[in-house]
């Protein structure tokens, strides 16, 4: 029986070529920060967010960084105060989270080093409300009374 390790990880089209692009000092610094954050995630479970919008990038630097990181297998979109696009990079655990407003203008752009990006997880208060909301709906359709926990 084959193990998961034997399944090759396939990056998005163009990613391998883009990894050969020359990197300047600013990009290298960010990538080293990602490397340390990944080590912390593996070692202690600590998540890290890096605000790419606040970086002093030159023209084309951001595109170069995104091309270097490549595309992984997971994409997600959230509709709340405009779209938010989540893209796993070719490096597992490194996510690109792009917060846009309703006019598709960028509000923030984060690199999130985590098992799952925070914005994808249900918020604790929403979970608290979820049981009550579901109970109310079940009562409306005349189902059995829900068991109390």
């Amino acid at each position: 029986m084959s193990s998961l390790d034997e399944i090759p990880v396939v990056s998005g089209a163009g990613a391998p070529a883009s990894r050969e692009l020359p990197l300047n000092g600013a990009l290298e610094s960010v990538l080293h920060e990602v490397r340390h954050a990944l080590a912390r995630l593996v070692g202690t479970g600590e998540t890290t967010k890096i605000d790419l919008k606040s970086m002093p990038f030159g023209p084309g630097d951001l595109d170069r960084l995104i091309a270097f990181l490549g595309k992984g297998e997971v994409q997600a979109s959230i509709e709340a105060l405009g779209p938010t696009r989540v893209q796993e990079t070719a490096t597992a655990g490194v996510w690109l989270v792009d917060y846009l407003n309703s006019e598709a203008q960028r509000l923030a752009l984060h690199l999130e080093i985590a098992h799952v990006p925070e914005i994808l997880r249900p918020q604790p208060q929403d979970l608290d409300d979820a049981i009550a909301v579901l109970d109310a709906r079940l009562n409306r359709v005349g189902g059995d009374p829900p068991p109390t926990s």
Binding site: K53, S54, I78, A80, E103, A108, Q123
Partner: protein, 369 residues
């Protein structure tokens, strides 16, 4: 039960009433952290604080100004985080934006001052004629700028001076300062004053200061010029993407030479980045599209005091700012006789340039167009 008025609601309640979900709120907080130059890891802290924050009352006073600061804040192409922040403060008086006019407008200011005494924020854009100047240079509803400012700040929690005119005197203060213009900090000594300088200031910095007050209930940490350190803590030069070219000694020497085309450092074209503290290099302008240095123009140093009188915009920082300065240097180095000769030479050159100058009339310009 009587409905609570707008300033009694928490920000979380206000947003929820507008149909903003908790994920949307989290996104709002992520964008706010980015806007305030805070680390993204503070998003959860900001969410918890904003959830309970109450809408502060803001009174906005405009004095000797060009409305560029208000334009900076409001001229967005689409709803932005800045708009959201503006929606969640209670802007009770702004004579450019408010619908009311005349006595009704002034009444709104007085009512806001009474209703929120001790709690409201005063935002000022523009400098004002000082207490010893002719008040007639700038008045609002028959009141001198000075009287209106002092009356309004009396019961304010704090004052935010927006733009280089309010922060340092700006263009009205430029030599010979005909109106006797002074900054807010020159006359307001008994209240906390935050200077958000820039001509105009970056809109995200203006709202960032308001958001900081909203979130933490206090004003941000300030530098020696009373500017928030989060945005003015580093020089343009230190955060400039062209900095590596400076370190290697690679400079553009004119606006169309090889160095300019290759994106080299603009220091020798007069860039004031090394002596200017602002967030342009990271926050950029026009929804983060670009900023002057990226567009190929040197930084003018507009966020620094007296930037209009700091020598030519296109003179390198290492060049003395005036001919008289050169004369003094010359005299010191080689004696009064040589200094006198240098001064005479400078005078002769100025006269020659004046003689060569060919003024262009408006009619001639229109014919060319």
């Amino acid at each position: 039960m009587a409905a609570r008025n707008a300033t009694e609601k928490t920000l979380g309640e206000s947003l929820r009433e507008r149909g903003v979900s908790r994920r949307g709120f989290l996104k709002f907080c992520a964008a706010t952290a980015s806007m305030m130059a805070l680390p993204p890891s503070m998003t959860s802290t900001i969410a918890a604080a904003l959830e309970q924050a109450r809408r502060p009352s803001v009174i906005w006073l405009s004095f000797q100004e060009c409305t560029g600061c208000t334009e900076s804040l409001t001229r967005s192409h689409a709803p932005t985080v800045e708009d959201l922040i503006l929606d969640v403060i209670s802007l009770d008086y702004h004579h450019t934006l408010q619908a009311a006019a005349g006595e009704a407008a002034e009444l709104a200011r007085v009512q806001a001052m009474k209703a929120h005494a001790g709690d409201y924020l005063v935002v000022v854009d523009g400098s004002l004629p000082g207490p010893d100047s002719n008040p007639g240079y700038s008045t609002v509803a028959g009141h001198s700028n000075y009287d209106m400012l002092m009356e309004t700040v009396e019961h304010a929690a704090a004052v935010v001076a927006v733009g280089s005119c309010a922060a340092f005197g700006g263009l009205p203060h430029a030599s010979p300062n005909p109106t006797g213009a002074v900054s807010v900090l020159d006359v307001v000594k008994h209240k906390p004053v935050v200077n958000v300088s820039g001509c105009p200031p970056i809109p995200m910095v203006i709202t960032g200061v308001l958001a900081h007050y909203l979130i933490f209930g206090r004003l941000p940490e300030l530098d020696a010029y009373h500017r928030p350190l989060a945005f003015f803590g580093q020089s343009i030069h230190d955060r400039c993407y062209r900095r590596p070219f400076y370190d290697k000694g690679l400079f553009a020497k004119s606006f169309d030479d090889e160095g300019a085309r290759l994106g080299w450092c603009l220091y020798q074209l007069g860039c004031k980045g090394p002596s200017t503290y602002n967030a342009c290099a990271t926050m950029r302008w026009n929804d983060g599209t670009s900023w002057p240095v990226e567009a190929g123009h040197p930084c003018l140093g507009c966020a620094e005091p007296s930037f209009w009188d700091a020598g030519g915009f296109y003179q390198a920082l290492s060049v003395p700012t005036s001919a008289s300065g050169m004369t003094v240097l010359g005299a010191g180095a080689a004696g009064a006789l040589v200094g006198g000769a240098v001064a005479a030479l400078a005078k002769r050159r100025t006269k020659a340039e004046e003689a060569r100058r060919q003024p262009v009339t408006v009619d001639e310009l229109e014919q060319k167009l």
